[in-house]
């Protein structure tokens, strides 16, 4: 499946995208009070997040600096505003706000000055021009239009209108990506994902509860750099952020392999950083770059701070990963009686397969980088299945289920 959003209007970027950075391109940034060194450093961070080779940093810098201020329209439906809050945490202070400056954030209810009629006018004007990036937080209720209205219009009505002519939709958080919490059993409002309501516009899903803002800024940088959306898995999650299992990158993995587990909150194993699997960690069934990026400017992440992963980037996790403190039920070959050693040894086998797959993913991403244009969506479903047979099942509503959006009812 090839997904090529409409190219933005020609700009300086087009001719300089492959060359070194033109100082003229940075003039605008200097006007914004940004120095060249910190800007380049930031582009290096973006490049790393995107898992591109360092040689791409100048290209990312050129594209970001010269971007023709694409319009962002940010809609919120059945949400908790957690993703908008996450967006406020964008790191590298000066530069993150430059990213905001470089996008034209034409509608974002949490921060915009205008209200009521004036805010709707701003939204409609941005949408009317087309080519905007539509960012959506929250699920859409299909059980009745009254469950979510804004300005007297229903969520569905607004979404359909605002997605018309959009270059792309970026779903931030698990609710807009997969239905999320409102869609958890018994789904009282018949909440669905944005992708269940809109068709014909390319979608990037950035699930997580909430999404990690570094993945949003990287997705946008990718779009500006390559004029294309990043390669994605069968659930439209970018491979640069959701290509690897948390368990495979977890710093506690050595303890898992060695059969060392924390058994109670605050016990010696817990204090020594042992594996949290027996306290319910869902890292083995979750694909997300938490262990690499961490949160809040790389400060910490849940497993690092002692609580297991709950699988928040997986579709249907509210139903498939609960109870949160029970051990994962789908680990083949291991009953309650299995010894930790046995568990660890078998998983070493799974890791080997995992590294093999990891290599494939990276190759595809590099190919994308080299071509500098759109690639077909990389389907890693098969690899995931292999991993499952080697030790872990995938999350029940996860990657093996291409339309696993809302989870079981």
């Amino acid at each position: 499946m090839s997904i090529v959003p409409p190219a933005p209007a020609p700009s300086q970027t087009a001719s300089t995208a492959n060359g070194p950075i033109d100082d003229g391109l940075l003039a605008r940034l200097f006007e914004l009070g940004v120095d060249r060194r910190s800007f380049l450093k930031y582009c290096g961070v973006l490049t790393a997040t995107l898992a591109l080779p360092p040689s791409f940093a100048p290209r990312v810098a050129a594209a970001v600096a010269a971007a023709d201020k694409p319009s962002m329209v940010y809609l919120a439906f059945q949400d908790c505003t957690g993703n908008a809050e996450s967006m406020l945490r964008a790191r590298n202070p000066d530069i993150a706000s430059v990213i905001l400056d470089l996008m034209s954030v034409d509608y974002q209810e949490t921060v915009m000055a205008a209200a009521g009629e004036q805010s709707k006018q701003a939204r409609d004007a941005a949408v009317g021009k087309g080519g905007h990036i539509l960012v959506v937080e929250g699920s859409v209720p299909l059980g009745g239009d009254g469950y979510c209205t804004i300005g007297g219009e229903s969520a569905q009505q607004i979404l359909k209108k605002a997605s018309k002519g959009a270059a792309a939709i970026i779903n931030v958080g698990t609710c807009s990506a997969f239905g999320g919490l409102p869609a958890a059993h018994p789904n009282p409002t018949k909440a669905v994902a944005v992708g269940d309501v809109v068709s014909g516009v390319p979608i990037v899903n950035l699930p997580g509860c909430p999404m990690n803002v570094d993945n949003l800024t990287a997705t946008i940088a990718h779009y500006l750099t390559f004029k294309a959306l990043p390669a994605r898995d069968s659930q439209q999650r970018p491979l640069f952020a959701y290509g690897d299992r948390i368990h495979d990158n977890c710093p506690r993995r050595g303890h898992f392999d060695a059969g060392q587990f924390a058994m109670a909150w605050g016990d010696e194993g817990h204090r020594e950083g042992y594996c949290l699997y027996r306290l319910g960690c869902k890292g083995p069934s979750t694909f997300h770059n938490c262990p690499i990026l961490k949160w809040n400017g790389g400060t910490q992440w849940p497993i690092g701070a002692g609580h297991g992963c709950v699988g928040c980037s997986e579709a249907g996790f509210w139903d498939t990963m609960t109870p949160f403190y029970d051990r994962l039920p789908h680990i083949e070959g291991f009953g309650v009686d299995s010894t930790a050693e046995k568990l660890g040894l078998t998983v070493v086998g799974a890791t080997a397969v995992g590294f093999g797959l990891h290599g494939v993913g990276k190759t595809l991403q590099n190919k994308l980088g080299r071509n500098g244009d759109e690639q077909s969506t990389v389907d890693v479903t098969d690899g995931s299945t292999d991993l499952g047979s080697a030790g872990f099942g995938s999350s029940p509503a996860g990657r093996d289920n291409p339309d696993g959006k809302a989870g079981p009812a």
């Binding site: 915009m112 909150w265 809040n296 949160f324």
Partner: protein
């Protein structure tokens, strides 16, 4: 009578809020507050493991990202009679107190300031003069002419770019804006600084909670983050030093930027001490006491006070009786079996969604009937305001040793008496004062934690009742938390180790409440009456008063079914 003014969406808040107001003679004569989104979290929680409830409840709101987790955990602990270890209580308090500082700074600068600050006017400022003004207000190190010039140039470049983004279509130039261009420029400068500040300060939550938004180290019985001075995988001296530095940075920012800016705004808008009061009755549950409150009771020994003040009478503070809390659905889109006007206690609450509003797209709600996804929460039959103003009022009336001098000092600075607090500006002022109070106290809480760890106590969890088989067949409990937006309570009924019923009575449920069965308006509705409106097409004044409450609508709209019979019925008229 002219047609009603509709402001929907109310922006710069959390969630979906709609205000309809009857304006005649340049003044709001009547107002209706409507929450326009519902998710049904209540029904989603039924039948689940009570130990998971906090993680679900936390998603009630991503702005108040710690408060529902804490109230939920406390409800389960109350039901099962669990006392978490002191370390865990102090960690929760540190996360909670830093939530206040973070949340109130973001509210003041990013959600509320643009109601008072004209961004476009800042372009006309003399940056040198702006620096002189700024330096006369405080010793904040970034109040320099160089900084003011840089911000103005940045703003200039932004405006010349022709794409105003989030600042497009603001009410710039509205006659109700009164700050000088120089003060506007300094406010814009601090608006940008506050963006950086909040992003860094919230690392406290990452250090103690794994991440923010939605910290992830709460657990029934304590905290999931270990403490061990000799381990790099636990809270150690390194962690504590980082937290100390961040807490200190919060105190500095509040003292050097937030409070001086607040005073500058207060002095420039004295008329707003006479507008936007409303109910004049206040309730606060209290919090941050360190000691475990008695089962089923609010925290009466905390840094934040507990009590009720009725009808603005500051001579008397009543204790809170949780059994006097009720809700009715006379004007909310729900139905009760015994009649929609029956006040029900939270333990006996019902949630049967019943949308009878207009079919979208619509222009007006039928405000004579049901008009919101909120229930009407009442204390002893009367509507009360909750939040910063309630806390400062109750603390002031009770003669609290920390709060009384703080409030008196502010009143003296502004040259007004205590009655001026019953107002839009009073609410905004109270929020700033309590931020200072809690930023001050935050370092003391950290000292307590450090002393306790130094004494050899590493416990973070009371594990005796972790396994559900150790629980009684039936239990029920309530968790109170004095959240930044006000008095919060979660009520849980547990049967056979599963959630049988769950109800959250939330600050914005109190403040954004619709009329009740007796026709008594909620706090927003009461506060808006009498607000002057210079231009009905640009209702800036409505935003000022509504924003002074810091609305949080996702929080508000979730009443949770306590009897375990989820019924959803949607009728569209």
């Amino acid at each position: 009578m002219s047609p009603r003014i509709v402001v929907d969406p109310i922006t710069r808040i959390e969630g979906h809020l709609r205000i309809e107001a009857q304006v005649d003679g340049g003044m709001v004569q009547d107002a209706w507050s409507s929450t326009t989104m519902w998710r049904g979290l209540e029904q989603i929680l039924i039948g689940r493991d009570p130990r998971d409830a906090w993680y679900f409840a936390q998603r009630i709101c991503g702005v108040c990202t710690t408060v529902h987790a804490l109230a939920s955990i406390r409800a389960v602990e109350d039901a099962l009679d669990i006392t978490p270890p002191l370390n865990a209580r102090l960690l929760r308090d540190l996360i909670g107190v830093s939530q206040y500082v973070h949340d109130h700074v973001v509210h003041f600068y990013h959600l509320h300031a643009l109601d008072w600050v004209d961004v476009v006017s800042a372009l006309k400022a003399d940056p040198q003069q702006a620096a002189v003004v700024a330096q006369s207000l405080s010793d904040y190190p970034r109040n320099t002419a160089k900084q003011m010039t840089a911000v103005q140039q940045r703003l200039q470049a932004f405006v010349q770019g022709g794409r105003l983004g989030p600042f497009a279509n603001g009410y710039w130039g509205h006659p109700a804006y009164k700050l000088s261009p120089e003060v506007n420029l300094l406010a814009v400068s601090h608006y940008l600084d506050a963006l950086d500040f909040q992003r860094d300060y919230v690392k406290i939550h990452a250090l103690l909670g794994g991440k923010n938004p939605h910290p992830q180290t709460y657990v029934v019985g304590g905290m999931a983050i270990p403490i061990d001075p000799n381990s790099q995988y636990a809270i150690n001296d390194n962690t504590l030093q980082q937290v100390r530095g961040l807490l200190q940075s919060g105190l500095n920012f509040v003292n050097q930027a937030y409070i001086p800016d607040l005073v500058a705004i207060g002095k420039s808008y004295p008329e707003w001490t006479a507008i936007g009061g409303g109910l004049n009755s206040y309730m606060t549950f209290g919090d941050f006491g360190g000691a475990q409150p008695k089962r089923g009771q609010t925290d009466t020994a905390g840094i934040l006070p507990s009590g009720i003040v009725r009808n603005g009478d500051l001579s008397k503070v009543e204790p809170v009786d949780p059994m006097k809390i009720t809700e009715d659905v006379a004007r909310g889109w729900y139905s009760y079996r015994e009649g929609d006007g029956t006040p029900l206690r939270p333990y006996d609450g019902e949630t049967t969604a019943n949308y009878t509003g207009p079919n979208p797209p619509y222009d007006f709600l039928d405000v004579d009937k049901k008009y919101t996804w909120l229930k009407a929460a009442r204390y002893d039959g009367i509507p009360v305001e909750v939040g910063p103003l309630a806390r400062m009022m109750v603390g002031y009336a009770a003669g609290d040793a920390r709060i009384k001098p703080l409030v008196d000092g502010a009143l003296q600075t502004l040259g007004v008496g205590p009655a001026a607090l019953h107002s839009t500006l009073g609410r905004t002022l109270a929020r700033g004062l309590e931020t200072k109070l809690l930023a001050d106290q935050s370092l003391g809480l950290l000292d307590q934690l450090v002393a306790n760890i130094a004494g050899g106590d590493l416990a973070v969890h009371a594990g005796v009742k972790w396994e559900p088989k150790s629980w009684p067949a039936k239990a029920r409990g309530v968790g109170f938390h004095e959240a930044p937006r006000g008095a919060l309570s979660h009520w849980i009924v547990i049967e056979d180790q599963k959630i049988k019923g769950y109800q959250a009575v939330v600050p914005s449920t109190w403040n954004a409440s619709p009329r009740d069965a007796k026709g008594q308006p909620g706090a927003y509705e009461a506060a808006l009456v009498g607000t002057p409106i210079a231009d009905p097409k640009q209702p800036l004044e409505i935003l000022r008063t509504v924003h002074s409450f810091d609305p949080c609508m996702a929080c508000a709209a979730h009443v949770i079914d306590a009897d375990g019979t989820p019924i959803v019925e949607v009728r569209v008229q």
